[in-house]
């Protein structure tokens, strides 16, 4: 598709991905986004005054930065007169930012756009029950002593019961089940055994550890909140990963019959990533040699309970949009929310899936593990939900460059029952 290849990815970086509650727990999503944006612009030598728009994906949407992209843009030196907006498509937010930017550029509304994703899962707040709003409201309205006493009398300890927004966010609002349970749904549907999942997870860690040096090229070091150290690498991948240890872990989401454990799922993580997108012409004018070009993309929907299968649904559409066949794709980044979910996708790619009352899919061809997540994936690196989409694109393009490959695919599953898939080319 000729028009889509007009979008050049000039540069891309990300922060280290760090397990929630550890090194980044005191850094806000704004700060993470600002660090990576500043470094992106500085390292690529792009004057912030050239940037026409900033688009960021973010899921947590912190109260203190309601349009987080705008705050990031201003703090990174992008002039106040350039607009910025935030996108939210759950786990695909970091990809949505990129495709939204592409649409802006294709429609000639912007020539240079910073797109990215940022997430501080550490700082997703703890909430009071909704009833507290009402109770506080009536307290503020109470004028007389009698009224106040009546309101006070209405106080119940239950009002102080915390609600963890993170836990709530990871539960599907429509299907009513936790994300981990959606992985169990797929494990059962496709008969994916526990050992297979653990082995996949083991391999993810092994690859991520082996790729440390390569990954460091895409990582910008971030000063810790106390400014006493620079965080330079992902702290998820474990060099001492052992299959026996993985096997000993208890299923987390379904205690009795489940197969999905903390070990074969991605950890809750903090991080951010950003790419510099330009129209091909603009990049050439400015003398850039882009990492690659966005050739096509697609989003697709499916049953929320089977959300993990999103890549299998979005990929055929994206391939069609890009006018390429699966067999031509040389390298794939497929987000590892859960090992069960990745394996389920691989089966569908190879064999298709029958209707059975659900949407059916034809096979599009098997995926060789040697071209899938070659530097490890989210099970080892972690999944800062709003940022992962951008990370997949950055990791994919940089590895395509190392291998001098020309077609690649970045795809992920999206909570709520969606899939996203982006096709990139180099030439």
């Amino acid at each position: 598709m000729a028009t889509a290849s007009e979008i050049a990815v000039v540069a891309g970086y990300r922060t280290p991905f760090v397990r929630a509650g550890t090194a980044f727990r005191r850094l806000s999503a704004v700060q993470l986004g600002q660090f990576v944006t500043t470094e992106l612009l500085q390292r690529s030598g792009c004057d912030p005054h050239l940037v026409d728009e900033v688009i960021f994906g973010n899921i947590g949407q912190p109260a203190e930065a309601t349009n987080i992209a705008r705050v990031i843009a201003l703090r990174s030196g992008v002039p106040a007169e350039r607009p910025a907006y935030t996108v939210q498509r759950n786990c695909a937010s970091g990809m949505q930012a990129i495709t939204s930017a592409a649409e802006r550029i294709l429609s000639r509304r912007a020539h240079v756009v910073v797109a990215g994703g940022t997430e501080s899962m550490s700082q997703i707040p703890v909430l009071y029950p909704l009833a507290v709003n009402e109770w506080l409201g009536s307290w503020l309205r109470a004028r007389t002593l009698a009224q106040r006493l009546r309101v006070l009398g209405g106080f119940r300890l239950g009002l102080l019961k915390p609600r963890f927004a993170l836990e709530i966010g990871l539960t599907d609002a429509y299907a009513g089940i936790n994300m981990g349970k959606t992985a169990e749904v797929l494990a059962r549907e496709f008969g994916i055994r526990r050992e297979e999942q653990d082995t996949y997870a083991y391999e993810s860690h092994r690859r991520a550890v082996a790729a440390r040096e390569k990954l460091s090229e895409e990582i910008v070091p971030v000063p810790a909140a106390n400014l006493r150290e620079r965080i330079e690498e992902d702290n998820g991948p474990r060099a001492d990963i052992a299959l026996e240890r993985l096997a000993r872990m208890r299923p987390y989401f379904e205690r009795r019959w489940g197969t999905v454990t903390i070990g074969n799922s991605c950890p809750i993580t903090d991080g951010a990533g950003a790419v510099l997108l330009m129209h091909r012409e603009r990049a050439r004018e400015l003398g850039y040699e882009p990492l690659g070009y966005l050739r096509g993309w697609a989003y697709a929907g499916l049953e929320p309970q089977r959300m993990g299968l999103g890549p299998a649904y979005a990929t055929p559409a994206a391939l069609q949009h890009a006018k390429v066949r699966m067999a031509e794709i040389e390298l794939i980044e497929l987000n590892e929310a859960f090992a069960a979910q990745v394996l389920a996708n691989l089966r569908v790619f190879e064999r298709g899936v029958k209707g059975n009352g659900k949407t059916g899919l034809a096979p599009i061809g098997p995926i060789d593990r040697e071209r899938l997540n070659v530097n490890g994936g989210a099970i080892a690196l972690g999944h800062p939900v709003g940022a992962s989409g951008t990370r997949l694109v950055v990791t994919l393009l940089r590895e395509m460059q190392r291998r001098d490959q020309s077609l690649g695919l970045a795809t992920l599953c999206v909570g709520g029952g969606q899939g996203a898939a982006l096709v990139f080319e180099r030439n």
């Binding site: 704004v30 700060q31 600002q34 660090f35 500043t38 470094e39 703090r75 000063p223 400014l227 620079r230």
Partner: protein
Amino acid sequence: MGTLETSVNRETQGALRVAVEEGIARVEIDLPASKVNKLTTALMTELEAVVDMLAGSQEVQAVVLTSGKPDTFIAGADIDEIELLDDVDAAREKSRFGQRVFEKIEHLGKPVVAAIHGACLGGGCELVLACHYRLASNDAATRIGLPEVKLGIVPGFGGTQRLPRVVGLQAALDLILTGRLLDARRAVRLGLVDALTYRGLLVEEATRTARRLADSGRWQYARRARKSLLSLPGFLDRTALGRALVLRGARNRVRAQTRGHYPAPLAAIDAVRAGLRRGGRAYEREADLLAQMAMTPESHNLVRLFRFTENNKRTGNDLPEPRAIRQMAIVGAGVMGGGIAQLAAYHDIRVRLKDIAAEQLLLALRTADGLMRKAVKRRRLDAAGFENRMAHISTTLDYSGFALADVVVEAVVEKMEIKKSVLQEVESHVRPGCILATNTSALSVTEMAQALRDPGRLVGMHFFNPVHRMPLVEVVRSEHSRPEAVSTVVALARRLGKTPVIVRDAPGFLVNRILAPFLNESSLLFEEGEGIERLDAIMRRFGMPMGPFELIDEVGTDVAHKVGVTLHEGLGERMKPAGLAGKLVEAGRLGRKGNVGVYRYVDRRRRPDRAHWNTLRHAGSTRYASDVLLDRVLGLMINEAARCLEEGIVSDARELDLALVFGIGFPPFRGGLLRYADERGVGEIVARLHELERELGPRFAPCEMLLRLAADAARFHPDRPSAEAVE
């Protein structure tokens, strides 16, 4: 606008416009042909006439006082007039006149509401104190205070009398004695201002207030600080014993802080005290004290210095437009580089900070973080401002981002070869128009420039330590520096809130070169047998913020030694260093940073180290008269300063004196080193130098310029600075 009563409405050539509408007279102060409002005699005369007219008007029920200038209410008295006061009687008369006009306002018989936006200083503040209600804009431009003591005088239009009544004795003394200014928020909290409103609503709101006061008839009882007798502030303000305690405390604090060098704060306390006595002639006392203070040399010198700073604002005006600075880069995240990065970020400049060690970068970030948090604590920054400014600093181990810099400041270690190679590296990473600045205290900028492909882009930028506190920056123009590069660095220094003085590239530039004899001659005196503590004490008594040996420890004996050697090499025998600094370096006594130098430092307190001192010299002990010591040290400094003028190191004596006051804290009340020479008489200085030359050798030989000035009985500065103010 009401035109009912043409005798009151004024559209004059003068400074005051009066318009009456529905009984409220709006008096707008707008001094013609001036950017700001100043209380000139002409304006005060006009004000008196207007006040008389308002008093006599049947129609006018209340008055609103406002300014026609964008960001000043009234900036104070007219400095030109203060300078021209040459006898006590004239000064007293001026003060009495002002008091009379303001008293007429206070006793107008109708409420007067001041609508304050912008600077409301000195006489302006005294004017609003005489009003019955003060409404101010809650705008950053609004600043209120009585900074008279900074010019060596006291408030003379009733400020010492009315301020204590309005804000209470303690707060009033604090404001008058420090001369510090209040922002709108602090002013209202203290009660100096009755209420705040938005700038755009100011006049409207003031008019409404005037109406309300006039209608209610309760305005006579202007707000007074009425603190409970039982509270501590109330006790201190409202009982004779409390007031006596407060005054004594203030006097002691002033004595301790000024070491007796500044008479004005003590005079101000006197004036305030006079107002606390019943039936005293307090306003007369205030006028007397103002008149006395205006005649003191301290005041003349402080006023001169103020002039020098005003004059400095024109520095670089003859140069081409500076480059716009959106981003700067700094190489070297040490104490200086880190300090400069903090300063730049604080002043809203994006900074790319590079070092070869990640540890240094973190240290610089921590320092910046600490200073910015302090600013938050002092309410200079809010939480968002803090985050925004910290986000301005990004750090790097390579030269990434340097391509975006408009200016690069190099702040690596003081070694010529290293600086040259770093500057060459920098040059290969920046874009063509990028200006380079080197932060050096002693190395030749010209030599450094020769290492560059484009030598014209390099300028020296000598900051003083600690960067965030010292106001001076020497902008060093090398033989190659392009005018645009110089003007850009001057503009950068200003944006960082510093005072730039342009100097020519020669060993020690200006300030360190003149400072050298201060340290060196003191060291020689020590070696002859003088006491270290005595020398330090004498210099401090002269007014220096630190004695020579304290200063050596502060800058580091190694640095002092190196600068001494450089100057000796560059300027010859007269700069031959004494042995002291070298010996201390050899003994590993590097100064305060290592807790031992000339002195020892125990728990950050300075302690003598006589045992070590005795090992540093052979001579027994001597004890010259203190004026001999001062003449040797200051004589050499004056001689060196004259050479700097002679060699064109700096444009003129004003810039030189300003640089010494801002760079080494040369006592402001003395008005600068050359001003001190003028006061002593250049002839006398030359005579003393000749004597010392015969006695101690050629380093005291007075330079050409001194000899010429002495022969012509001339001075460095014109006698009456007002002569130069005429432009």
